[in-house]
Every structure is written in structure tokens, then in C-alpha cells.
Symmetry: D2
Subunit: 370 residues, 4 copies
Amino acid sequence: MKNSIGTNVILTLFGESHGPAIGAVIDGLAAGIPVDEAFIASQLAKRRPQGPVDTARREQDRFQVLSGVFGGYTTGSPICIVIPNEDVRSADYEQDKGLARPSHADYVAQVKYGGFQDYRGGGHFSGRVTAAIVAAGAIALKALDAKGIRIGTHILECGGVRDADFNALGSPDGLALLDSYLDALNGKNFPVVDDIEEAVTAKILDAKADNDSIGGIIQTAITGLEPGLGEPWFDSLEGVLSKALFAIGGIKGVEFGSGFGFASMRGSEANDAFCVEDGRVLTRTNHNGGVNGGISNGMPVVFNCAVKPTPSISKEQQTVNYITGQNQALNLKGRHDPAIIRRICIVVSSLMAIVLCDVLAGARGADYLK
Amino acid sequence: MKNSIGTNVILTLFGESHGPAIGAVIDGLAAGIPVDEAFIASQLAKRRPQGPVDTARREQDRFQVLSGVFGGYTTGSPICIVIPNEDVRSADYEQDKGLARPSHADYVAQVKYGGFQDYRGGGHFSGRVTAAIVAAGAIALKALDAKGIRIGTHILECGGVRDADFNALGSPDGLALLDSYLDALNGKNFPVVDDIEEAVTAKILDAKADNDSIGGIIQTAITGLEPGLGEPWFDSLEGVLSKALFAIGGIKGVEFGSGFGFASMRGSEANDAFCVEDGRVLTRTNHNGGVNGGISNGMPVVFNCAVKPTPSISKEQQTVNYITGQNQALNLKGRHDPAIIRRICIVVSSLMAIVLCDVLAGARGADYLK
Amino acid sequence: MKNSIGTNVILTLFGESHGPAIGAVIDGLAAGIPVDEAFIASQLAKRRPQGPVDTARREQDRFQVLSGVFGGYTTGSPICIVIPNEDVRSADYEQDKGLARPSHADYVAQVKYGGFQDYRGGGHFSGRVTAAIVAAGAIALKALDAKGIRIGTHILECGGVRDADFNALGSPDGLALLDSYLDALNGKNFPVVDDIEEAVTAKILDAKADNDSIGGIIQTAITGLEPGLGEPWFDSLEGVLSKALFAIGGIKGVEFGSGFGFASMRGSEANDAFCVEDGRVLTRTNHNGGVNGGISNGMPVVFNCAVKPTPSISKEQQTVNYITGQNQALNLKGRHDPAIIRRICIVVSSLMAIVLCDVLAGARGADYLK
Amino acid sequence: MKNSIGTNVILTLFGESHGPAIGAVIDGLAAGIPVDEAFIASQLAKRRPQGPVDTARREQDRFQVLSGVFGGYTTGSPICIVIPNEDVRSADYEQDKGLARPSHADYVAQVKYGGFQDYRGGGHFSGRVTAAIVAAGAIALKALDAKGIRIGTHILECGGVRDADFNALGSPDGLALLDSYLDALNGKNFPVVDDIEEAVTAKILDAKADNDSIGGIIQTAITGLEPGLGEPWFDSLEGVLSKALFAIGGIKGVEFGSGFGFASMRGSEANDAFCVEDGRVLTRTNHNGGVNGGISNGMPVVFNCAVKPTPSISKEQQTVNYITGQNQALNLKGRHDPAIIRRICIVVSSLMAIVLCDVLAGARGADYLK
């Protein structure tokens, strides 16, 4: 499938950072889902670089819906959304041609594509392509919202500053609290729950001042998901979500619920006891992050992603020129994010929305999300 | 795809813990791969419960190859391997019918299958099914080995005891050291590199003595993989491997290279500088775990998996009877592993071998592994 | 996918004619479908050689259901059905080793698998494998029947003798007539509607007497299918059904409705006018075979398949020995069908049932057929 | 997959007849394939309406390559080609809103999409979308040509006039003759081999003069294909090609080699005897159309498609208004083709090229076509 993901609802990405446009085709969405172009635009705005912690590249994200939408609703046919590239400065990349930026895909692209890749700005590997995920995801998020399913992603940790941990919320009290957190996140450009924007920003600017970058951990919660979604073995909810998550450049780890924290727990602590509450089966704790045996159990699905520091830094680095085959020093020009952790949150929520539409379409039929 | 994984080499699992048999079909392997039944048996032996840290259930794993092998070689047609179930004590499960074992799939199976699931011993969700992965994986491991690709998985951490960390090994010296580690692992039933078997065993037996269980972290390294394997976006090597890994019950987190450790690193530490060494492009450090932009970079692919404590414990637990809809106490009988961390290692290596065969078949053609 | 077909309900075939067993895995069927082993056996009996027009090879088809069925119902997990091979006479094939039987797959298998294929009796290419389709299809047929969907296949033409043409039946009168035809077919071992069994048998025995074989045309009707199933473009109902049909050895052509007859029609004859009849939209004629734009229109889905004469004939033939690379004469031994047209009918209906379960699961959700 | 086809090389279609644009994404093509925009334009010209036998709608087909091509070569990333719609007269369709055009997809689209479909000009079902197939196919055709694989499609029969039959050509003499036929076809706008353009045109104009339309049979040959391509059972070459062919509106039958002609043949006539000729294994006759057991045998792959008469005719027809639920007469306006048989030939060749790239990429690896 390569640049496509999904079985019943399928997202396909295309485009390069410095080519004419990037875009997405989303196929298999039910007919009759309202498509709100203003909402798509507002979601794109959240991903767009916008303050001191982001790159100075200014993207307008003037998207066009070429197909699959008629009279404000999905038609059931594939939706192609195109976002032309603007404010492109290819010259920054021409001078470093052949230099493999460390932790970037330049070298592997050279090996894989034999020199035919569009090397400018990372080409098809560029984070720029995630704008198409956000645009397509905006439609999916609205479709899920109509079914009572909410998705939110926040910065859980950056530079040692930590936000509220969704995974610590059990039932029944934690459920309402979590929904209030997700509501709050939707209205924010800087996706944190507690009052830590300033502290996180300071950490990022510290790194920027050092011509360096930093990573962090982001956390996503999905609420309102009915139990029974996912499959045993290879289409486990965890497997399906993680495959999508690792598509996003910079994500190097995914853990559900207590994740790596399980390593220091015993079964008697780790097991989430089931209980009946108002006729509904819940668990008091949510160490399993809402998933048992690969299948949703009715509790919020909660997972964390490790985000590595942005590879593009202004400090001098040692690397290889893959054209000459020589070791060479690299002094990166161009406009870079000292941390992508703010911008990546909306990308994760958007992509998860698309994948969940796929899971629901498989389980409930193509028309379920109409 | 549900119980199948792969695009060009496809593994399909079937069977229930207490049904007639479990098994696997593996399709798409090239013709002409030697199939060594003694090796399959020895791999199954590594997964089999065998000492004080494992369940007392005694499985013989008398497998039969029903198809796809002729004269000791793969024919290119689907290989069906069946492993009949033996030493089944269903009565242990009859008395707990309706009781959702915490952190197990009993409840979600009830919701998903509406009471038609085979509830005995976890049915199709049972870890028993992983024997089929090991049997099929044995063929894949041999095919990879012939191409110079090795896979090894060890217990990195359990009960606070830690083994040597493959991720700390860079190039060029670390490469040979890692291969010697993998060679050593192949000969061991207790998969650790350093002299920690006794210490880990003690921690597991501690938990067992408390009628409890413990989790841990396992680590896998793949060496000899050429650069350029994997795809940008949705078929990233990380995504493809993680989707398979999350199929294995008990795995709740996957991190590549430094993974969640990236959260406290800066770009200047995290970036793996490229260098030319004897005409080969390597990186001195391997924080990225051998993968850049979703694609292998020629360094060892290294990842960790978080393994949760075995859910089945003998301590009394609170739960729900999904038939009566009442809260109820659960006192588990049956034979359980106080930790699955030893047995899971060979499952992970086996499954990774199958997935890599798929990746290689896609990149190099179906006949590449002949 | 190779030996698998389907997106949401997936059939996988394995096995060789002279290996230990052939079989199938069917995954994705809803939980709760009754599995009637006696019905499976009776369907297998229809495919089994049984009279003068079939091969003398006697197969018992003692199938075993290894997984996915519990207490007489599907569990929702993969169903593996195994049929051991009996009455195998491999010696017949040893003496012709290396001789490419004309119109058989021997030569292409040699090229594709490089000599590692199981060449005995056609190996994995053998029609023997279709027994697994019939066994799996029996479950699918019952599931469809519960939804009011019937499938029947008959010999439309063989040796110049023709049966009633389902495609000539329009609405409303033809609908009831067609259902009565399908009912009658279900009870017959020789699948014809009109009183032509004797005439067809005579034609086949004529060919047999000449050490020769004959082909023919079979026709399938599916009734009770709701309108709106299928997709525009690549998952058209016609495309999905035809892909499955061409899997069956001997089928060399597929036409829907008037098919090749359209070549000599004008639009004004060929167009099926819509009409409202008792509040239901129907077409008076059914030249389109129940499919418009790749999607079911509520009329019976009717298609014909061309079946080539059985390639195995006792007449001397000229061919190539692919081991010596020499031209050589071939005098086939072994037990062969002078015509497979009787036995292929139940295979087609069975396979169509599985494919329709897949189409319905995709459109209506995995649980629709429960 | 719905609007996508392929496993390793994947084509995705989008767009509606009267929307902003139609287009295609083709993913998985090797890097380094030359992309000749002039050739794409010339292929589109062959599909474009251009004479008395075609619709009067004038499409410019000003395509844009948005991604995946850099410096005149494929990059290995998805190629998105967009063709804006021009000369659109939606008003023709507004007045017939709700009227199900017989043999068209209007009614099934209404059932499937519940009124949300773009009904103008058939929307996503429109033959207009095949322009995207031709544009994408032009790249695939060039890639195949570099490997010595040629594809050509001609009108075999229309209005009783017949062209030379490729299926009658055996080996060795027929092979060179067939290649000369394919060469000749490439240079022609009216795809016939013999001198029958005038006769066919007359038949089509006859139908047009009667406010009617006619169908026919087209025939495709693929030469230069190595033996061993395709799979037994579900990815048979016949199955894979036919699934793609039935995606094209108007194709209602597909037969390989002698196809339905096998019905009146005996095995001794139908079997293609193998022979060694200059060290190469061939068959004297080619009744099997180059495919045995689902796999190419080295002879030309030859198949015929039945093309139904264009459903849009100017004669008054009876039909249903699916909005009012009433029977109603239909007098079609708009600009229609009296026969699509000329225009469909290039679409078939283009689509076959894409599918063959997929087959080759699966068998030989993604880079084979570089």
C-alpha cells in the first residue's frame, strides 16, 4: 500500500515539499458527511507554523477540494484535497545537495531511489505532507464527532515540563474530566491542559538559542469509542493505530496505557478490574489504555508517542556527501522548527480520526458514519 | 486482513487454545527455501513452557506440515502448519465461565462475538496461538539467515535487572559485538546476554511466590539488513514492524532506537552522524535504531517492547460476570506463567522474520529469498 | 494476496493434489452463523466424482474443522477446514515427470518455481483444491440463505445441448420462475434445469469414447441481492466476481447478462428500462445481468462462464520435456474427467457465496451476516 | 480498495464528470522511469472525442503532474495527475434530475449514496474519469516498452464488421506478425488493423442516424511478457486483468484466448501443444491466450472484451424517476457517443499497462521497471 493506509476507508498521500502541491485522497467515507471548509481551514491553522517555537516558513495552506464533495456533503466517492506549495525557497537546499542531514531521510532516499528523488526540503518525506493529513482528518473528525467520539492530543512532556496525564484517569470520575480536557484542547493553538505553555515555550526557545532542538512526549485520548472495536492478532487496535503513528516523521515510540511503565509493575497493580457502573461495564483504572487483547474495552483509548528532537539544527554536524562519498561538515541553512511537538499534536489527532473511520467502517459497514 | 499480515508474504493464524489445533498458513515465500523440521522443533522448544518461571501446561507441539513443502524445500505454494492441542484441561475454565479476567480479552470477546466465542482458555486470543508463529517463523529465519540477516531478542529488563543494551552499540566496533550477542542468544533457552539468568529468575519466582506476576522490557536487534528497505509514510519499517508486534498479547509499547529516551535529548545528541567507513556509510551512534524516515539506513534495526505482567494471577481479583451482569470476585485456577517475558522473545524474533520476508519480497521480488 | 481473496471476509487456500491434505481458512465471517457439517458433506458430495462422466479417482473428502467453530456456530475467528488426501496414485505422475501436459500448468509451474513445485497431479494447481472452496462455501451459502440470497449454477451448454437461459428471464414473472429453478438445482447432482441430463451425458461419453474431452458454458444466478452492492471502478461487482471466477481452472471467459451478445445489439434493445412494480424498482429485461455501473440493481445477478475442455486426454499429444528441453510425445495415464462441467457448477456457487459474504460484510459491517 | 487497484503498483482514481477535476494517483512505480508529457498528451488525444462517431463534448485534457516526477523522471513517490474539467454543461443534466437513465448507474448511485452523489453527467461513474487512466497508463506503457513489452487494443468486431483476429496467430510466424500489428495500432487514431475503418464508421453512423447506439468486441494483445507471471488461484493473470477490465464502464464480458469458443471444442483441438523452437518453449496454437493455470506461458496474452452499446441514446425510453418514485418517459439531451468502442481501446491498453507494472513489481521487485 505504501502511501495509502486503511482497508475500508483509505487515505493516500502525495506530494513533495518543493513540488507544485501536496495532497491527499480519502476513499470509502460514507456519503452524506457534512464537509465544513472553514473547519478544515481552522485545523490547518493549528498545524501551521505561527510563533517563535516554529519554523519561519509561512504556508498559506490554500486547499482545494477537487472531488468527492457536492453541495457541502461527501458523495461517497474519493475526496481529493490539494494544497499548493507556496513560499518555497529551494535554493537553501541546492547548496547542500548530496549532504545527508543526520537523522533525516536524505541518505536512505538516495539509496532507495538512486538519485531520482526530489531532494529539496526532504521531498516526499517532508513534514509538509502532514498538512494533507490534517485537511483530510478534519472531515473524519467531524464524522466521528457526530457519533460522540472525540480525539485530543497534547504535549505530555517537553524539556522536563509535564502536563496532566490522561492515563491516570480512571472511571467513573475521570471520564468526565477527560472530556473536559479534550474540549479545552480543541480551542487551543498550544495543546496543553495545565498552565504550562510558558514553561514549555521557554524550554524550546532555550534549545533554539543554542542552535539546537528538543523532543518530548505527546499523549492522545479517544473517548466515546464503543467496546468491541479492533481485532485479535494483526488488526489489533494498537497495531492499526501504531502503524499509522509511525508514519509521522519524528515519532519513534508508541505506548498504550501504562506502556513501558508496565515493566516495573506486578499483575496485581497492572490489571484493570472490571466493574458495573450504572449498567455499564468499566474499569476503575485504565492501565491498559482502553484496549484488551487488541480490542477496545469501552474505556478511553490513551496512548503516548515519543517525539524525537527535530533533526534540522543550525549547529555544525559531521556527515557524508552521498554524491562524492566523502565525509563532510554540514552547516544547515533554511528555516526549521526547534521543536515539532506543538505542530505534531493536530497531525496525530487527524490521522487517528481517519484510521478510526476505517475501523468503524469495517466493523459497522461503510454507511455507519453517514 | 484481520488474522493475516503481509502484502507479498502473508501469514494467517487460526486456532483456539482448547480447540482441535492451532496453526498458520504462510503464503508468498519463494520456492526453494530449505525447510528443516528439526529446526522448527527446536524453535518451538524455546517457546515451550519448561522451567519454574513458566506455566505447568505441557505442550508437545507435534506439528504437521500439510502443504507447500516438497522434498525438503518450499514449493512456492502456501505452507500450512498445524499443531494439534494436547494436555487441554477445559474444566478449569468452565467454572469461571462469564467471569471477565481483568486485563484479558474475555470481556471484549463477549462484546465483539456476542457469546459465540470459544471462551475456554482465551480461545483464539490465547498465547497458545503464538506457537504457530514460531513454527512459521522458523522457515523465515532460515531464509533470512541465508541472506546474512540475523534476528535476536533478549530480556532487556525484568524486575529491575537489566541486560546489555543493544541500542548503545554504535559503529564500527559495536557491529561485530552485536553479532556475537545474537549468536550467543540463538543457543540459549533463557534469552539474556549478560550473566543475569539467575537474577531474573529470582525476580519472577518472587512474584510467583506472591501469587502475582511481573512484566519487563524485551529488545530485538536485526543485523545485516541492507539500507533502503521500508517506505515513507504508511509502510514505514517502524510501522510495519510495530503493527506485527502489537499483535502479540502482552506487548503494550514499542520504541525504536532511543525511543522514549528522545524526550529528554536535544537534536545535537540525538542525531546520528553519518560517516564513511571502509567505503560503507554508517552512523557512529544508533539512536535512530537503524531507521531514518521509515527506511532502514544500514545500521542494526533495534527496538524495545514493553511487556505487561501476565494478567492471570492467583490473587483474588474483583471483576464482572458478563453473563449475569454482576460484580463478582475471581479466584483463578488453571496453570499460568508468572511472566511471559522469557517465552515471548522467540515469538517476537519469529514474527519479525516473517514480516521482513514480506518487506524483502516487496522490494526485491518474490524470488529474492529463494 | 496470491492464495487469498477478499477484503473483509477472506478465503485462503492451501494444499496439493498428492500432499497430505488440502484445505482452506476463511476469516472475517460473523460470529453466530450455524455450521452444519452434514450440509458441508452434502455439498462436497456434489463436487465428488460419481458417475461415468467423471474421473475414476475416488475421494472421500473426510473434512475436519480445526478452528473457528464452537458449539455448532462460527465464533468469529478464522475457520480452518482440512481435507486429507486419499486414494492418491502418485506413480501415474512419476513416469511423466518433466513432460508439460498441454493446456495444464506444468510448464508455467516449472518456470515460476524452478523445479521446486510439487509436480504430482498438478500439485497446488490441481482441481482437487476446489474441494476446500466447496467446504468453506457451504458455510457462506447458509449465511446468505438466512438473508434470502440464493445462488445456483447450471450447465447452460455442452456439446451443443442447451439448458434454459436465466438471462432471458425479466421481471416480474421471471423472478419467481428463476427462484423455482434455483430450488430445483439445489436438489440435483446433475445441475441442469430442463430435461437434458441424458443428452449432455451422451455428449460427454462420446468425447470419452474418443479419448477426448469437451467444454461448455455454465451459468450462475444470484437472487435476493439488494441493490447498491459493489463499487464504481475497481471493486465493481463484476470485477470482484470475475477475479474469483478466473481462479477456477478451466474457466476462460466470464460475461454478465447478455455479455458478448451485446456486440450485435443496439442501445435501444440492450437498455433495461426501469419500472416501478409494487413499489419496487425493477427492470423488465435483464440484459445487464443485474449490474449497472458495477453495482447491483436489484435484479438477479446472472453471468456465464466459458469452461474449456479438460486438458487431460488420453489421445497422444506432442509436447516438451522441460527437464531435457526436448520435444516428446505424451501418452497420459491417470484418471481424468472427460468434462469438468458438471463438477465445476458447485465450485462456482460456493466461491460466489464466499465473495458475496465479503461484499456484504464490507457494505453492511462484519456482523451483518450473523 | 474501492477506487484503487494493485498491490505493489497502485492506481487510485478520483473525480466527477462535472466537478472541478478528475485525476489519478499512481503509487509504487520505480524511481527513474522517464515521464514524457508529450506522450501523455498524445495518448489523451487518442481517447478524446474527435470525429463524427464520438460525442460532441470537447475536452482539452490539460493535465498537470502535481507530484512524483522530478527532472523528467519518476521519483518513486506517488504521482498525482490532475485533469481539470472544461466544456461542462451541467444544465443538460439538471432537467433530467431524478430520472434513472436505463443501463446507466443513476439508479444504483441513488440507492448506494442516498441522494448525496453528484448526479451530473454520471458523476464519478462517468467515462470522463478514464482520461485519468490514460494519463497514468502512458507512464506505465513507456516503462513496459523499455522492457520489450507491448500492448495494443483494436476493434475486433462492430456492427458485424470484423478485424484480424490476434487469437488466430500461433507461433513462430504469428509472433512477428502480431508485433507488426501492434506497431501499426500505435500510430492510429482509429484502432483497427485491417482496412475496415470506413465500414465500421458507417455502422456507427447508421446507429447514430437512428438516434441509437451500438456495441462490439475489442481485442487486446500483450507481447514480450516472460513466462511465469501471475499466480495460481486468486491472483491469476486472468483474474487480475479481468478485475481491472470490468472497472471500465461498458465492458460486460472478458474472454481469454478462445474463451467462449472453447464451449464447442474438444480437448484435442483446444490444447496448445508445447514445442521447443530455437531453444525457446512456445505453443503452436494459442487457444489459451498465453495463460495456463493463471500464469503467463510466454505466448502473447490475448483477450477479448464485450462492449455494450452506449446507454445514452436520443430515442425516447421508459424509466423511473427515483425522486418521485413514478414511471416516466425519458428524452435524453446532452452530447453522447453513438459508440464508445473506438475510445475504449486506448483506455484498456492503458489500464492493462498499469496492472502489468503491478504484476511485474510483485514478481521482480519494486525496482524492476526502473
